[in-house]
Point group: C2
């Protein structure tokens, strides 16, 4: 496929187009993903998550700059599920990122929620693969750490940085409980504010509450993303975590889990497609109508469909 | 099934047990859901969503009390996805709800995120069905209006109330953009605070930004949930919205969409089960390994599986 060859040759417009195809669930997207698969697996995927207002985007920006200093090519995927119905990303964030606009080796893409549940996670996995095949050494995925969808997205990352800020209220603490468990590294951003040390101590004590002792103790780094302070230290911790994963076989395990997850997802979709090919529209509609009228329950209806499939 | 008969007879322990089975994805749950299906469709489902700290739970509490005054039996499902890994609900919220503890006609259940993505939405749909079959006239589903999962959950509601409070920051505004579009009724809660009228005006102007003109103009009600102020007015608006849906065929359309969504979901799951029954574990593992080694891409692997299915 021409578009795949162009992605592999480093054509930014081809890569951008491929991600758009994925996001719109265009049928061509599957062909692209199918063909690029064997060219993936080289990029290191970094997840950055945290509540709104924690300065995540600025931190991602600074991380990208640090990686550029090391000569690494960087891809950024900013996931913004705040508007599930319009699919719009927050304009301000995107404008801010124009700092990298003139650097061809930083490729930024924002993704909003489209289509059905799971669409965003699936789309993000696809976008990561495109950036990987496109030759990015590091792909940074930025999400708001709130719902289940974001947690599923961040699972695609090799290393997860959770961003906090000093002095957040109790409501935020509740949200934090869920993402504490997924953080490999913690950044207390806006650390020039009052209460940074208290926030670090609080995080530390919450982390120590975790029941199972782990080989990897998540470090907590104070950062001031807007000035780049603490960002080299953060990068060093990412490198340490990567080395740890490589040494312990964790990297391979993560890759395997990712492959299995993706395969299961694809299988499920193909099956759904298969069944709707086998079943005519009228038949499906009639079944929905019968379910609605309580003449049959959805479970028995599904069993009937499968039984028919067997004999076709 | 005994448990189903007991639910239909109004045995609260049977209903609670059924919801637990659903939440744990016990195989018995499917049988229960299958059998109760024809006893559902009577309850009116009210969705209440809003950001943390907006006083949603107190408002739900007051709504339940108002419905009790009208002699309605009420079920409450408090969905709390804040901790996707531990499945825990915020204890404080649940304790607060003990106000209804001695009233057998208010049945409260909280649900945390369990298992895979979609698990929470699926579990909530199941819990609504149990409460419906159990004889509740009104089922109130309470969610934090953030991620995609919550939006999917709230879609099960006939009428959606979006709760806001005066003086929330810009970060919250961003989240709001997504849920503005799903609100049938808006409640500006904690309206005894400064800025309540400004919040109403702000909401009104944001709602008017919506491009497509609708038959139903979402009303905005000021409430002080802790004192029950504005709650009867809110209930009156729910009744108005219900009448509107009944008149315009919207209720039937919503029911049909729900039936179709549920059927598709069940079909997908049954298919996944079907394929893993047909495929031995070794075969699946071998394919994942080949995907991992980039010897095959997940799409081609899925096609192979389906092709084999055809000839079996």
């Amino acid at each position: 496929m021409e578009i795949v060859e162009r992605i592999l040759a480093g054509d930014v417009r081809a890569a951008a187009r491929a991600i758009s195809l994925i996001e719109c669930e265009d049928s061509l997207a599957l062909k692209v993903l199918s063909e690029i698969h064997r060219h993936t697996g080289k990029a290191y995927v970094l997840g950055v998550t945290g509540p709104p207002g924690s300065g995540k985007s600025t931190l991602v920006d600074s991380l990208a700059q640090e990686y550029r200093k090391l000569g690494k090519k960087v891809g950024i995927i900013a996931v913004d599920p705040s508007s599930p119905f319009t699919g719009g990303a927050i304009l301000g964030d995107r404008i801010r990122m124009q700092r990298h606009c003139t650097d061809p080796d930083v490729f930024i893409r924002s993704m909003g929620t489209r289509g059905a549940m799971g669409g965003l996670a699936k789309g993000t996995v696809g976008a990561i693969k495109v950036m990987d095949a496109f030759g990015k050494d590091v792909v940074i995925v930025e999400t708001v750490g709130a719902g289940q969808a974001e947690v599923d997205i961040i699972k695609s990352a090799h290393t997860i940085i959770v961003v906090e800020v000093p002095g957040m209220g109790d409501d935020i603490q509740a949200i934090k409980a869920g993402i504490l468990e997924i953080g490999d590294i913690f950044a207390v951003n806006k650390a020039d504010r009052d209460g940074a040390d208290r926030a670090v101590a609080h995080l530390r004590s919450m982390l120590e509450l975790g029941t199972e002792p782990k080989d990897w103790t998540p470090p907590i780094i104070k950062t001031v993303a807007k000035d780049g302070k603490g960002v080299p230290e953060l990068l060093a911790k990412v490198a340490e975590h990567r080395a740890y994963l490589e040494k312990t076989g964790g990297l391979r395990r993560k890759e395997r889990e990712k492959a299995e997850r993706e395969f299961r997802e694809v299988l499920r979709e193909r099956l759904a497609q298969y069944i709707s090919d086998k079943m005519d529209k009228g038949e499906f509609e009639a079944l929905v109508e019968r379910i609605l009228r309580k003449q049959v329950d959805p479970y028995s209806a599904a069993d009937d469909v499968l039984a028919k499939l067997e004999t076709k």
